[in-house]
């Protein structure tokens, strides 16, 4: 039990369960099939985006270009299908390839120049977004194959949409990557302490590039999932990803300095943010409040993390005195 209490995701899980029960007691509409369907859609999309940011946070960097990659892939994906009448599979593959290339560029430049990833990804944000606008001239693509539309809106059974399949697979894979593979552990080691990770023979170049490539791939998948959901490819896909992409991992207890992320807690963070946004809508609260709320949530999470760290420090101090 005490081991459970120490997990990042445990407290969050409790908050989620009690919060949902409380909300549905006041507003039964919250657990209506339609509402659950909408909730699951928003969770699926943000899950992928949050994972894309989380892996960069794990190595102690940040990726501002997540949204820009998602947007660029989204319009490339739809553009290939509409303008070049490509079939779905090659369009998806090219989309993934673009995401991979974007991530590689971020990682390669960051690690080779030693310049902060913040500045590099700020620059690539503008480059990717600029390419997006330059190609589309701010016009959306509307001609989407029926299969893509179906995937974005159909339900497997009950209120469960097809769209959740990919994000769930990704979350499982990410959990395996971060907890069960040496690559994931190396990433955490690198995020924790660059020098010592190099001393034990971990290649910085490899780790940073891999992390950014995974981030780029996930951002690409996120962009394509949004296309399925919206049934069109607009150039502004990804514009609003920045805040939520950081919110979920941070609420999930990730430390921005790197070295500590929790996949399950991040997923719970995504669900928490979605439930709260949804609840505010159901209680007919001004949508602008949602934004303020998200801001306060991040601050609250930061305070709680800080407090836990503080308690941890005090406890270890007591032990070392003995």
């Amino acid at each position: 039990m005490s081991a459970l209490l120490k997990k990042d995701w445990f407290g969050l899980g409790l908050v989620l369960i009690f919060g949902s029960i409380l909300i549905s007691l006041f507003k039964p509409a919250f657990i209506s099939p339609f509402n659950l369907y909408v909730l699951m859609l928003s969770v699926s999309l943000m899950l992928v985006v949050a994972m894309s940011q989380m892996i960069i946070i794990a190595i102690g960097q940040m990726n501002l270009s997540v949204g820009a990659i998602g947007g660029l892939v989204a319009i490339s994906f739809t553009g290939l299908m509409e303008v070049y009448s490509m079939s779905i599979l090659p369009a998806v593959l090219i989309g993934l390839l673009i995401g991979l290339a974007c991530g590689f560029i971020n990682g390669y430049i960051t690690v080779k120049t030693g310049i902060s990833a913040f500045i590099i990804t700020l620059a690539t944000l503008y480059i990717f977004k600029g390419m997006n606008l330059g190609i589309t001239e701010a016009q959306p693509f509307y001609e989407i194959p029926e299969a893509v539309k179906f995937f974005g809106n159909a339900k497997i059974f009950g209120p469960i949409p097809y769209l959740v399949i990919i994000p769930i697979i990704i979350t499982v894979l990410m959990w395996i990557l971060m907890n069960r593979t040496s690559l994931g552990r190396y990433m955490l080691a690198y995020g924790n302490n660059v020098q010592s990770s190099e001393l034990i023979g971990i290649s910085s170049t490899k780790i940073v590039i891999y992390a950014h490539v995974v981030s780029g791939l996930l951002a690409a998948i996120g962009g394509m999932l949004v296309v399925c959901r919206l049934q069109l490819g607009t150039p502004n896909i990804g514009d609003s990803w920045l805040l939520p992409s950081f919110a979920a991992p941070v609420i999930g207890g990730a430390i921005l300095a790197g070295g500590k992320v929790d996949v399950i807690a991040t997923a719970f963070g995504v669900i928490l943010v979605s439930i709260i946004s949804q609840a505010l809508v159901i209680f007919k609260i001004d949508p602008f409040f949602v934004q303020i709320f998200l801001g306060f949530m991040i601050l609250l999470a930061v305070f709680i993390n800080r407090y836990r760290e503080y308690r941890e420090e005090r406890r270890t101090k007591v032990f070392s005195d003995e």
Partner: protein, 328 residues
């Protein structure tokens, strides 16, 4: 190495100055209208704002932090000013003082939370960005203040020096000199830099690092509020969306100017005039790209490339400087 001239040549500012001159030459030869009175006046109005935004970011970068809430903060302060003047009928001079105080207060919140939680200011200002902008939209109901006093809006469209220069630019340049003086010659300015350069050493020599960091954030809020007022005067109205969604339109110039100017992201080094030159360069390139007609949609792409090129060049310059100094 005792020779003064080569030292100056090696600095970032010198490289920037050359770049500015080169770009002015390129644009004046390759485009019509770059040197026209209208264009120079328009440039001076834009550059004034970019300098101010760059300085506002610079003083937080000094602490090794960032201020993502810059745009949201500036717009919130400007909307507060619009409300004071239009709805409350408060005189202009008092309004400006109130707005600057309000901006400093919002900056204080950023600084206070950052220092107290020990969390990186990136995440704190990411949150406050959303909070400030959310409250601002909620309170103003996304409505603009368009009936500002004429004396105020007239100032924004005033033309000085044979109608070439906007008075806004003079405010920005004056601010540069004031900041330069503060950082170079005053006790508090030196303490701010010391705290940013090596917090532990500063703490040991009796400087309250936490307080210095809060001051930096307050100064950032102050300058962002000033930028907000200037933008309001320039447009002639206080509009909630004047810096884009969440104030994002300000972020690129905010980072470009100090980074191009040679401010270290790890903190502890400020270059006031470098930031000024950086802002001028960005505005020049932006303006030139429109005049060359690359298409408005590609401007953002080229700005990103230029930011990337600039940091890479700077890294190369550093590398060669270090190599040369080892050799000699």
């Amino acid at each position: 190495m005792n020779n003064k001239i080569p030292n100056f040549v090696k600095t970032n500012q010198f490289g920037l100055l050359i770049l500015v001159i080169v770009f002015i030459c390129i644009f004046s030869f390759s485009t019509d209208g770059f040197t026209s009175r209208f264009n120079i006046y328009a440039l001076s109005r834009v550059v004034a704002l970019d300098i101010m935004i760059g300085l506002a970011m610079m003083v937080v970068i000094l602490t090794g932090g960032l201020n993502l809430s810059l745009g949201a903060l500036g717009v919130s302060a400007a909307m507060f000013g619009g409300w004071c003047m239009e709805s409350m009928g408060i005189p202009i001079s008092l309004t400006i003082i109130l707005v600057l105080a309000f901006g400093s207060f919002l900056g204080w919140i950023n600084g206070f939370v950052t220092v107290r939680t020990g969390v990186h200011s990136f995440i704190v200002t990411l949150a406050t960005m959303s909070i400030y902008f959310g409250f601002m939209t909620l309170l103003t109901e996304a409505e603009a203040f368009r009936k500002l006093p004429e004396a105020f809006t007239d100032f924004g469209s005033l033309k000085l020096f044979n109608k070439y220069i906007s008075p806004l630019l003079i405010i920005s340049v004056l601010t540069c000199f004031v900041l330069y003086y503060i950082f170079k010659y005053t006790d508090i300015g030196r303490k701010l830099i010391a705290a940013g350069a090596n917090p532990d050493a500063a703490e040991l020599s009796g400087i309250s690092v936490d307080r210095m960091f809060i001051y930096c954030h307050m100064l950032s809020g102050f300058l962002a509020a000033l930028a907000g007022i200037m933008l309001t005067a320039r447009i002639g109205a206080a509009i909630p969306s004047m810096a884009g969604h969440l104030g994002f339109d300000w972020l690129l110039p905010a980072f470009l100017a100090p980074v191009l100017g040679g401010t270290l992201l790890s903190g502890g080094k400020v270059t006031v005039f470098g930031t000024m030159l950086g802002a001028i360069l960005v505005t020049l390139i932006n303006n030139g790209l429109y005049l060359i007609d690359v298409g408005e949609f590609w401007v953002r792409f080229f700005l990103g490339i230029i930011l990337l090129g600039a940091v890479l060049l700077d890294r190369a310059r550093e590398y060669f400087t270090v190599k040369n100094s080892i050799v000699s």
